[in-house]
Symmetry: C4
Subunit: 229 residues, 4 copies
C-alpha cells in the first residue's frame, strides 16, 4: 500500500543526508496520505544511504504498525500528534542539524535578521518550554508534540513551518515530506547566519517588518511571484 | 538569439552551486549583451543542477521578456537598473552566501584587513541603507538597485565590484557573468576571514593603505603583473 | 591470524577519514580479540586511503609485535593499557578532531547541553589532568592511559565512552572498533554544538537530568527501544 | 630540464586545491633542485585543476625565466630569497588558507595550545612586522622575504617551518614541495583549533613545555619513533 508515498518519504530521508543535515542516524522525515489515516515514516536507526522505499514503515494515527518489517522511528508519536493538530501539514522532518540545534540548546528563538529568513519563516522561529519530569516519564515522544502544539497556541503552522524543541533540536513541516526537508535546509542556513550576525554585532537589529512582509508575501502570499507557476 | 551569452550565463549560474555560494535556489547571475539592449538571466526558483542554456530568460532593459518559457528571477528589476547605472558592468551576481550575508544582516561594511581583500576590492565593501516602507511597497526590486546606486555616489563600481544590501545580502559584478561569480567567491572568503580576524581581535587594524594600493594595482592597475596576458 | 579483526579494524581506520575526523595521519583505531590477548592496530604514519587489512599490526598486551611488517601506531601503549583496565571495551579510537580537540586544549569538559549528547554520553565528557614532566619523560604513551584510568575512578567507561586528554585530544571506545569510531563521530558533533551553544549564550543551561536519563535509557538502557533489535 | 621536479611541484600545487587550502588562484608551491641553482614554481593565475607539469616555470635564483611559456607566480621573488637564506629548505608553499590568514590579519602569532601543534611546529608560529611604504614600493615581493628572514633572526627554520606575514597570510616550507604543503595543511588545522580554543577560553594555557618537547622529538628528533623508517 501507499507505494508512491513510500518512495517520496524514502527520497526525503535520503535527502537529509545529501544536504548534510544529519550525522549517523539522527533524523527522520515522514509523510501522511491524503485521507490523513496513514503515516509513512523512516525506520529507527537505519543509515540513510541504505534506505529503500520498502524499508519505510506505515503506521496509523494511533501508532500501530500497519505495514513494514522494521520498527518505526522512535520519534513516531511526535510526528503523529503533530499531524493530528496541524491539519494542513502533509510532511514532517526532525533533525539535529548543527546551528538550529545550538539555538535549541541555548533555548533561544532564531531572530529574523534578514530576507533569507523572511523568505521561509514569517517571524522569529519559536522555541518550546522544557518538558517536566512527569511529561518525560509518562509519554516523552507524545509530550514533545504537546509542548510544540502548546507553543503554537498563537501561531499559524502554515506561516511558521518550524519550531525548536528546548534542549533537543528542530522540527519542520510542509505540504509534503520534501517541503519539510526544504524547510529544514532553510532553517539551518538561517540559524547559521543568525548565529554569525550576532557574533559580529550582539545588537544586530531584527529585519524591518515591512521587508519581512514583502519577502514572505512575494513567495507565499496570494499574489506570490517567486518561482514558476 | 544570444546563444553564446545564454551558455555563458547558464555556466555562471551553475558555478554558484559548485562554489557553495547558494542553498536551495537563493541566488542568480546575469549577463548583458555588447549592445547593452538585452539581459540574459536565470529563471526564478529553478535548481542549479537542472539549468540548461535554453532555460535562460532574455529580457530587455524595461524588463519585458523577449525570449524564454520561464519566468525570470524575481531580482530581475535590480539587475536591470544596475546595468543602466553601471555602464562598464557586463555581468551581475546576487547570492545569500553565508559570511557576506552575516555582514549585510549586521549592517556592517566588510573592513579591508588583508591582501586577499585588497586583491579584489579597493577598500571596505560598502553596505546600503535600509529601504523605507514606501520604497518596499512601491517597487521593491527596482528600489533595491536604487539604494545601491545611491551608495555608490562617491564610489567607482570598477574599483569596488561588490555591495551588501542591508538585511539582505551581497550583489557583485564584473566585465561578464563569470567575473561577477568570481567576485562573489572572493567576497565570501574575504567576509569569512574578516569575521574570524575580528573574533581573534575586535580591534584588528585595517590593512595599511600602501599595501592595499600595491596589491590592487599589481592585479588591476595599468601596469598589472598578476596572471597571464 | 585474526583475518576478520584486521578487516574490521582496517575499515574502522578508513572510516575515520571518510567521516572527516582526521587530517594527514593524526588518528588511529584498534580492536581486541575475544580472548583479550591480541590487539590489532593501525600502522604509524600511513595515509588512510592506502590502508589495507594486511597493513594492520598485531601486538600482544605487552606491546610486542606478533604479526605485521610495519611499526604500530605510536599511541599503541595507550590503547593496550586502556584494554587492560576497561575490560568491556572491544575497540578504541584516538583522533584530533577539531571541536573535541578545542575542548581538550581549553582543558574543559564538554557539558551535556542537549539530547544529541545524552544519546551517546551519560553526562559531561571528562577531561584528564596534565601529565607531569616525569610522566612524560618516563613512559609518555602508557602514562597517557594512566591519567585516563585515574580520571575514570568514579566513572563507568560503558556509560561514558569518551575522554579528553588535556592539551591533546579525545579517545573514544565501544564494543568494537566500529563502535569506537561511531562514538568519535558523535563526540565531534556534540563538541561542535556545545561550542556554538555557549557562543550564543555563555550561560546556556545543562540538559535537565530527567531528559538526559530518558534519552540515554531509551537508546542504551535494558528496555532500549531505539534502533532495530 | 628538471622533468621530475616539475612533476613533483605540479602535484604539490594540485594538492593545495585538494586539501581545500586555496580559493580561486590564491596560492603556490615551488621546489628547488639539488644544486640549488633552479627553482620550479607555479605559473601566475592558472587554476589548479588545469595545471600540468609542462606549465611549471623554471627560474634561476635571480628570477630569470630559464624555461616555460607562462609567467611565474607573482610571489616568485619571495620564494627565491627564502631559498637563498634558508639553505636546508627544498620546497616552499604560500596560501591564503582561512584560519592561518585570520591570525596573520590579526597580526597575532599562533600559540602552541596542544600536541597537534607540537607535532609540527616547535613553539608558537611567528608573525612578521608590517612592511613600510618604501619597502612596498621598491621591491614588495623580495621585501616580503626580507621581513620573514628578519623575523627568523633567533629562530631555526628547520624547527619552525611556517611564518605568518602580517596582513597577508602564511608561508610554509620543508625538505621538498610536498613537505611544505603538508606543513600548510597542518598549520591550517592548528590555526583553526587555536582559534576555537581561545573562543572557549580566552585564557587557555599554552601546552606545557615538556609535552611540546616530547611530541616534537618523537616525530622530528634524532630518536624519532613516529611513522615508518
Amino acid at each position: 500500500m501507499l507505494a508512491e508515498l513510500k518512495q517520496h518519504v524514502c527520497r526525503a530521508n535520503r535527502a537529509l543526508a545529501e544536504h548534510g543535515l544529519v550525522t549517523l542516524t539522527f533524523g527522520n522525515s515522514s509523510g501522511i496520505d491524503a485521507e490523513r489515516r496513514h503515516v509513512v515514516i523512516k525506520p529507527s536507526g537505519v543509515p540513510y544511504d541504505k534506505l529503500e522505499p520498502d524499508h519505510m514503515v506505515v503506521v496509523d494515527l494511533e501508532g500501530s504498525v500497519i505495514e513494514g518489517d522494521l520498527r518505526p522511528s522512535t520519534d513516531t508519536p511526535t510526528h503523529l500528534l503533530l499531524y493530528q493538530h496541524f491539519e494542513h501539514v502533509g510532511g514532517i522532518t526532525h533533525v539535529h542539524s548543527r546551528f538550529a540545534t545550538m539555538f535549541a540548546q541555548a533555548r533561544r528563538e532564531i531572530p529574523c535578521l534578514g530576507t533569507t529568513h523572511a523568505d521561509h519563516f514569517n517571524g522569529p522561529v519559536p522555541v518550546t518550554r522544557s518538558l517536566s519530569q512527569v511529561e518525560v516519564e509518562q509519554a516523552y515522544e507524545a509530550n514533545t508534540a504537546r509542548v510544540i502544539v502548546e507553543r503554537f497556541a498563537q501561531l499559524d503552522p502554515s506561516e511558521m513551518p518550524a519550531v525548536l524543541v528546548a534542549g533537543h533540536g528542530p522540527f519542520t513541516w510542509g505540504r509534503d515530506a520534501a517541503a519539510s526537508v526544504e524547510n529544514a535546509v532553510a532553517l539551518e542556513v538561517v540559524a547559521e547566519m543568525a548565529f554569525g550576525t550576532r557574533v559580529i554585532d550582539a545588537n544586530a537589529p531584527d529585519l524591518e517588518q515591512h521587508v519581512l512582509n514583502k519577502h514572505h508575501e512575494r513567495k507565499h502570499g496570494k499574489d506570490a511571484y517567486y518561482g514558476q507557476d
